[in-house]
């Protein structure tokens, strides 16, 4: 079955708050395209992780390089941390 095949077709109406209810959707986010002829197209979108800045990436590159060279910090004192009131 082609990915654009029709699965459902029904009439919908605008409610008092100018909303339309879409039934049984599988996605949480959509790109909405309003066409000149009045049709509205919803294209599914998925959340992606926010980008990582160059600075953080460079820091991680160095951390991994040092990790492989056997350089690492002292362990975080978890007891002290648990007792801390930040």
């Amino acid at each position: 079955m082609p990915s654009t095949a029709t699965l459902k077709e029904y009439d919908a109406h605008i409610d008092a708050k100018k909303r339309v209810t879409i039934r049984g959707v599988s996605h949480g986010f959509f790109r909405v395209v309003h066409r000149k002829d009045g049709s509205i197209l919803l294209k599914p979108r998925a959340l992606v992780d926010a980008p990582i800045s160059g600075r953080t990436l460079r820091g991680m590159d160095a951390a991994i390089k040092n990790l492989r060279a056997g350089k690492h910090s002292k362990p975080v004192d978890l007891k002290k941390l648990a007792a801390m009131k930040a």
Binding site: L47, A50, I52, A62, I64
Partner: protein, 144 residues
């Protein structure tokens, strides 16, 4: 009792952590630094206890795993709020150890607001969510 020992990556994460701790001890933490330390403290304690803690929303970042040739995980500093801060960590260098290698947004980066926005993919339905898998419980190093 903590399952994992937590260490900081060198040099950035260690210097940031030491700076935060020394400012805390001296009572010279600024408002945003105090908030960051509070969130980091909570996240580190969760990580040491259980890296799969629901509050951390830990998941693998595949592009970073590919970049470094070992699994790199991301955890949120605030429950379900990636914009509030994200920790990047990896298992190792020894069994039962987690090393925090990065923090985003970087506290000294003036462009941090640029990463607060929600980003959506251009994926079509059925092509996957783009979100990495969750770490398995105790996937490396069963702790001490």
């Amino acid at each position: 009792m903590a399952k994992f020992t937590v260490e900081m990556g060198l040099p950035e994460m260690e210097s940031l952590w030491n700076e935060l701790l020394s400012k805390f001890e001296n009572g010279t933490l600024a408002g945003d630094e105090r908030l960051l330390l509070k969130k980091l403290r909570k996240a580190i304690l969760f990580l040491a206890e259980n890296p799969t803690h629901p509050g951390l929303t830990s998941h693998e970042i595949k592009p970073l795993s590919d970049r470094y040739g070992q699994k790199v995980w991301q955890s949120y500093l605030e429950n379900r709020t990636p914009a509030a801060g994200r920790l990047f960590w990896t298992y190792g260098p020894r069994k039962g150890v987690i090393t925090i290698i990065g923090l985003e947004p970087h506290p000294e980066s003036g462009k941090s607001r640029g990463y607060d926005r929600l980003r959506l993919s251009k994926m079509r339905a059925g092509e996957g969510s783009g979100i990495g898998e969750r770490p398995e419980r105790g996937s490396r190093g069963k702790g001490k």
